[in-house]
C-alpha cells in the first residue's frame, strides 16, 4: 500500500470511559479512496472507534486528523451509517433521505433529482411517502444507507450496516456498494462481524484485539472485484482472518 496518499492519520489514539480503557494507543493510516474493513470481537470498541474518528465522542489521548486538520462536519463531507436503527420516525422516507442535503442547503431541484435517483437505486421509490413505522426493519436499513449515500461523502463510515438484511438483499447492496465505491473512489470504513463480508468487500482488514483494544494485524486483500467467494485465493485469505480471530 506504500505510495498511496494518506487521508486520515490516527496517532497514539486512546479512548477511556471513566476507568474503562476501550481503545489503547492505536496507530495507523487510512488511505485516500480506500475500502477499509474493521473486524473485532463484540464489545471491543468498534462503534466507539467510529464515534471518535468522526469526532462524535471526544478523544482521551492522541490525535485523528484528516488532511492535516481535525475532522469538522461543517467542512468535511462525512456520512455515518449507525449500528442502531436511525430512521427518524417523524420524517417520511423521502424527507429522511434528503436530510443531509437539506442541512447543506443544496438547491431544491438538485435535492429532488438526487433523492429520486438514490431511492430508485435502493428500490424504495414506492415507499417514499411512508413513515418508518410503516416499513420493515430491512427496509429501514436501506433508507439509512440511501441517506448516507445521497450526500456523496468523502468519508463513509458503516457500522455493521447489513445485519438486518436478508442474504439476497445484502448481496445486492454489497455489490451496489462496491460499484459506487469503484466509480467514485470514496473512502469507506466498514465495521462488520462477518469475516466473509469483510474479505468480499475490502482492500484491507484491520483485526482488533479484545479490550483494551489495539490492532492485532492488518490483512491486505489484493483481489480484483467482483470477487468470487469460492475462489482459492479468497478462501485462503478468509481462512487466515478466521485463524486470527480464533481467540475471540
Amino acid at each position: 500500500m506504500a505510495g498511496r496518499k494518506v487521508k486520515i492519520e490516527v496517532r497514539n489514539l486512546s479512548k477511556h470511559f471513566d476507568d474503562l480503557i476501550v481503545l489503547h494507543q492505536m496507530d495507523f493510516d487510512i488511505y485516500e479512496g480506500e475500502f477499509l474493513c474493521v473486524v473485532g470481537p463484540t464489545g471491543c470498541g468498534k462503534t466507539t472507534f467510529c464515534n471518535v474518528v468522526t469526532g462524535l465522542l471526544p478523544i482521551t489521548e492522541g490525535s485523528i486528523t484528516m488532511g492535516g486538520e481535525k475532522i469538522d462536519f461543517k467542512k468535511h463531507n462525512v456520512s455515518f451509517v449507525f449500528q442502531e436503527p436511525s430512521c427518524i420516525p417523524w420524517r417520511t422516507i423521502w424527507d429522511d433521505v434528503k436530510i443531509g442535503l437539506e442541512i447543506r442547503k443544496v438547491p431544491k431541484k438538485e435535492i429532488n433529482e438526487r433523492v429520486s435517483a438514490i431511492l430508485d437505486l435502493t428500490g424504495l421509490t414506492e415507499f417514499k411517502d411512508f413513515y418508518p413505522s410503516q416499513i420493515s426493519a430491512g427496509m429501514k436499513q436501506r433508507v439509512v444507507i440511501a441517506r448516507s449515500f445521497v450526500t456523496e461523502p468523502d468519508l463513509l463510515l458503516m457500522d455493521e450496516p447489513f445485519g438486518q438484511l436478508d442474504s439476497s438483499t445484502r448481496f445486492y447492496i454489497e455489490n451496489q456498494l462496491i460499484k459506487v465505491w469503484q466509480k467514485t473512489k470514496r473512502t469507506i470504513i466498514f465495521v462488520t462481524h462477518n469475516l466473509e463480508e469483510a474479505v468480499y468487500l475490502s482492500e484491507r482488514i484491520l483485526v482488533c484485539t479484545q479490550k483494551p483494544t489495539g490492532i492485532k494485524e492488518e490483512v491486505i486483500v489484493d483481489l480484483p472485484h467482483p470477487r468470487d467467494i469460492t475462489d482459492r485465493e479468497f478462501v485462503k485469505i478468509r481462512n487466515r482472518v478466521t485463524d486470527l480471530v480464533k481467540w475471540w
Binding site: 471513566d18 462524535l56 465522542l57 471526544p58
Partner: protein, 266 residues
C-alpha cells in the same frame, strides 16, 4: 451536547451546588425583604417565627398547626381509602367484563369530566361535617384509580389468562395470580395520581366548606388578614406533606417491583 469534562469532577458536587443555590436564594430573599420592608415580603426569619408561633400558640382562633395538619390528613385518608376500596375492585371487575363499562360509558364519562371541585357546593348542601370532605376526596381520587385499574386489566396479555385457563384454573385463581399482579404497578400509579388530586380537592373543599380546621382554611383565613408569613408556612407544610406522601408511594412501588423481580428470578 457531548461534554468534554468528566461529570462530577468539579470541586462542588451536585449536592454542593444545590446547597449553594439555596443559600444564595435565602440570602437574596432576606436582603430584598429587608430593603423593601414590605408587608408582602416577610423575611425568612419572620416566616420561621410564624411557624413556631403556629405550632405553639396556634392560629388566630387558637387552633394549632398540628391540629390543622391532623384534620386535613384524616379527611384525605378517609376519602382516599374509600376510593381505593371502591375503585380497585370496580376497575378490575369492569376490566374483566368490558361490556359493562362500554355500555355504561354514557353515565360514567360525563361524571368523570366534571372536576371534583365543582361538586363542593352540591356537597355542602347535601352533606354535613366530615362526610363532605371525605366525599370530595373520594370523588377526586376515585377516577384515576378506577380508570387506571380498568385500562390496565384490559391490557393484560390475553395469553397470560388463557394459559392457566387451559389448565382448568378457576376464575378466581386467574384473577388473583395473573390479573392482579400484572396490573399492580398501574394500580399504584393510579393511586399516586389520585392522591395528588385528593390534595388539590381537600384544599378547595376546606377553603369553601365552612369549617375552621384544616390547612386549606387556615391559609385562607390568613389571606383575609393579609399575613403573608403565615400563608407561606401553610404552603410550605402542604408542600412538605405532599412530598412525603409522594416519597412513600415511590418507596412502596420500588418494594413491590423488587418483590416481583425476586419471584421471577427464583
Amino acid at each position: 451536547m457531548a461534554n468534554d469534562k468528566n461529570a462530577g469532577s468539579g470541586k462542588l458536587g451536585t449536592f454542593g451546588y444545590n446547597a449553594l443555590a439555596l443559600s444564595i436564594f435565602i440570602l437574596l430573599w432576606t436582603i430584598v425583604s429587608w430593603i423593601s420592608e414590605s408587608l408582602f415580603l416577610p423575611t425568612p426569619w419572620t416566616v420561621l417565627k410564624s411557624f413556631l408561633d403556629l405550632c405553639t400558640y396556634g392560629d388566630v382562633e387558637g387552633i394549632s398547626l398540628g391540629m390543622h395538619i391532623f384534620k386535613s390528613t384524616l379527611r384525605i385518608f378517609a376519602g382516599f381509602v374509600a376510593a381505593c376500596i371502591l375503585g380497585i375492585p370496580l376497575g378490575i371487575l369492569m376490566g374483566l367484563y368490558p361490556r359493562v363499562y362500554d355500555s355504561t360509558k354514557s353515565v360514567i364519562e360525563p361524571i368523570r369530566f366534571i372536576p371534583p371541585v365543582a361538586w363542593i357546593p352540591l356537597v355542602i348542601v347535601l352533606l354535613v361535617g366530615f362526610s363532605r370532605y371525605a366525599f370530595i376526596i373520594w370523588l377526586g381520587a376515585f377516577f384515576p384509580i378506577f380508570i387506571g385499574t380498568l385500562l390496565s386489566v384490559r391490557s393484560v396479555n390475553p395469553t397470560h389468562i388463557d394459559v392457566p385457563r387451559s389448565f382448568g384454573a378457576k376464575r378466581l385463581y386467574i384473577i388473583r395470580k395473573i390479573v392482579i399482579p400484572s396490573t399492580l404497578p398501574d394500580i399504584f400509579t393510579g393511586m399516586r395520581v389520585g392522591m395528588g388530586i385528593g390534595w388539590d380537592c381537600i384544599m378547595a373543599a376546606e377553603m369553601i366548606g365552612g369549617e375552621n380546621e384544616g390547612l386549606g382554611v387556615m391559609i385562607l383565613k390568613y389571606a383575609e388578614l393579609i399575613r403573608i408569613e403565615d400563608i407561606m408556612v401553610g404552603m410550605i407544610v402542604i408542600g412538605a406533606i405532599g412530598f412525603f406522601i409522594n416519597e412513600i408511594f415511590i418507596f412502596v412501588e420500588r418494594r413491590v417491583f423488587k418483590w416481583k423481580e425476586a419471584i421471577v428470578i427464583s
